[in-house]
């Protein structure tokens, strides 16, 4: 268990510092790269929790596909370096206030619910197998069939919309 704990602490440090780096960097490409690192550390968290499928999906979808498109757009627009002056002066105090509220809530919940969290057992070894994936597929196509289908239709609509927007209009 101690190895897991050490790994977790190192990863937590990395993920928090990459998240901070993403927010504080004035170069948008560096911000995007920090975010990629953050996604990868989150994937390793999933591995620590015994969910290899979600970890791999996280890397493939978020780090591999979505962030590449983000980088693509940033580079094509040529707006890599942000101006030093602050355009939204009200943003920083508001963000600080909301972050403080979130931190207070998190600490409160941690203190109140500490006992029940401690009772959470470590993930079962049986979860870490192919059967888990098979079960997930079955559940997706039976219990959660409607949300699954609605999501796929939503994605299809978005795809058709993107294609229509890029088409030249015929005069």
């Amino acid at each position: 268990m101690t190895v897991d704990l050490i790994l977790f602490l190192i990863l937590a440090l990395v993920s928090v510092s990459t998240a901070l780096g993403m927010l504080l960097s004035r170069n948008t490409v560096y911000s995007a790269l920090f975010l990629v690192l953050n996604f990868v550390t989150v994937a390793v968290f999933y591995l620590l929790l015994g969910a290899p499928f979600i970890a791999m999906a996280q890397v493939t979808v978020y780090a591999g596909a979505i962030m590449v498109l983000f980088l693509f757009v940033i580079m094509l627009l040529g707006t890599e370096v942000l101006p030093a002056s602050n355009i939204l002066p009200w943003q920083k105090p508001l963000a600080g206030g909301l972050a403080a509220v979130l931190a207070v809530e998190a600490i409160y919940l941690l203190l109140v619910r500490a006992r029940s969290v401690a009772q959470v057992t470590s993930p079962d070894v049986a979860i870490n197998s192919m059967d888990n994936l098979r079960e997930m597929g079955k559940v997706l196509f039976s219990t959660y069939l409607l949300p699954f289908e609605v999501t796929s239709i939503l994605l299809l609509v978005a795809m058709v919309g993107a294609i229509v927007l890029t088409k030249k209009e015929k005069a």
């Binding site: 490409v29 790269l33 990629v36 290899p52 499928f53 791999m56 999906a57 890397v59 493939t60 780090a63 591999g64 596909a65 590449v68 498109l69 980088l71 693509f72 580079m75 094509l76 870490n128 197998s129 192919m130 994936l133």
Partner: protein, 371 residues
């Protein structure tokens, strides 16, 4: 978790890296000799017997070349990009099984580094990470040709990843598992290339685009972009890009051999463990020859056609092939009739034939409109 376990792990990883690095050096020699033979030349034959020391001479040359960094480059990313390109090409090989297992000092030593139950997904995720090195190299050079090369490669790799993923799905369906070992063992009676030839073909085309090989070597099209994303790189940094490309070729051929050509399986492989790597090497060697052959035969295809081929032909065809495979397996299971299973290759080939006919008609129509 005793120390011998760690020792075995480290040693296997070390040997795998060594094999890939030596393989890279001699793949350049192999490619140059084979290309020369096809173009009626002799090729490198001066350094050592039959030019066998040529890769070493090249390596020494690259070590001593001067390294240049453009004055307005983004220095940190410029330095990191070659590393980000090489590392995925090395670690992706970790899940490929090279053989069965053997006994040494009373321990069973298996011939793969990692055996994870989502092996195929691991391949997908590492392949999708591999785009970053090229994109970042293009951007950090602060050069418009390099930038265009990086853009092209990222668009191309993302587009062809879809067809690649779908052809992985056919192999997963046939093996009923995502573990690489299970996929190899499922091919003990029939190789998957026999059951799903179109899936193997789609995999082959998509991977040629993934590793930026001819005829899909858009990111470094010399006539248009000088050298594309690595135009500003020199010396050892350039060598790292070169290394990544050739290592990816080896690894891709090994993956193709594992998923569709029976992996390390061959006659007597369960009696003598050392035959596994030998068969694997022979299969990779033959598949690499096809890659070189393609490069010697086909001219580079135009960029807009590359994209429309990926999106309008390969992805729908791959979807159809996945559908045909799944339906065939299900019907064979439910109706208990193997005839449906053996209909899969024929129906897939018919689907591929329809796709080819549609491309042909489209090209004819375009030629007619132009005339």
């Amino acid at each position: 978790m005793d120390w011998t376990f760690w020792l075995e792990w480290v040693l296997k990883g070390f040997v795998l890296c060594l094999v890939l690095l030596t393989g890279f050096a001699y793949l350049t020699y192999y490619e140059r000799r084979a290309l020369a033979r096809m173009q009626n030349r002799i090729g490198p034959n001066r350094a050592g017997p039959q030019g066998l020391l040529q890769p070493i001479a090249d390596a020494v040359k690259l070590f001593f070349k001067e390294e240049l960094t453009p004055a307005r480059a983004y220095k940190i990313v410029f330095f990191l990009a070659p590393i980000v390109t090489v590392v995925p090409s090395l670690i992706i090989a970790a899940v490929i099984p090279w053989g069965t297992s053997f006994q040494l000092f009373g321990r069973t030593i298996t011939l793969y580094v990692a055996d994870i139950n989502v092996g195929v997904l691991y391949l997908m995720s590492i392949a999708s990470i591999a785009v970053y090195g090229i994109v970042l190299a293009g951007w950090s050079s602060n050069n418009k040709y390099a930038m265009l090369g990086g853009m092209r490669s990222s668009a191309q790799m993302i587009s062809y990843e879809l067809a690649l993923g779908l052809s992985f799905v056919t192999a997963i369906l046939l093996a009923n598992s995502m573990r690489m070992i299970d996929i190899v063992n499922a091919q003990s009676s029939w190789w998957f290339v026999v059951i799903q030839p179109v899936g193997a073909l789609i995999f082959w085309i998509a991977t040629l685009a993934e590793v930026n090989r001819a005829p899909f070597d858009m990111p470094e099209a010399e006539q248009e972009l000088t050298a594309g994303y690595h135009a500003e790189y020199s010396g050892m940094k350039f060598a790292l890009f070169f290394m990544a490309e050739y290592q990816k070729m080896i690894v891709i051929c090994a993956i193709l051999a594992t998923l569709f050509f029976g992996g390390y399986l061959g006659p007597f492989v369960d009696k003598f463990w050392f035959l596994g790597p030998v068969y694997m090497f022979a299969k990779v060697f033959i598949l690499l020859f096809f890659m070189i052959w393609v490069r010697a035969t086909w001219p580079r295809i135009r960029y807009d056609r590359l994209m429309s081929f990926g999106w309008k032909v390969l992805v729908p065809l791959a979807l159809a092939v996945v559908f045909i495979t799944a339906t065939g397996i299900l019907l064979a299971q439910e109706l208990n009739n193997q005839l449906y299973f053996w209909a899969i290759p024929f129906v897939s080939i018919v689907a591929a034939g329809i796709a080819v006919m549609m491309i042909y008609r489209e090209l004819r129509r375009k030629a007619y409109e132009r005339a």
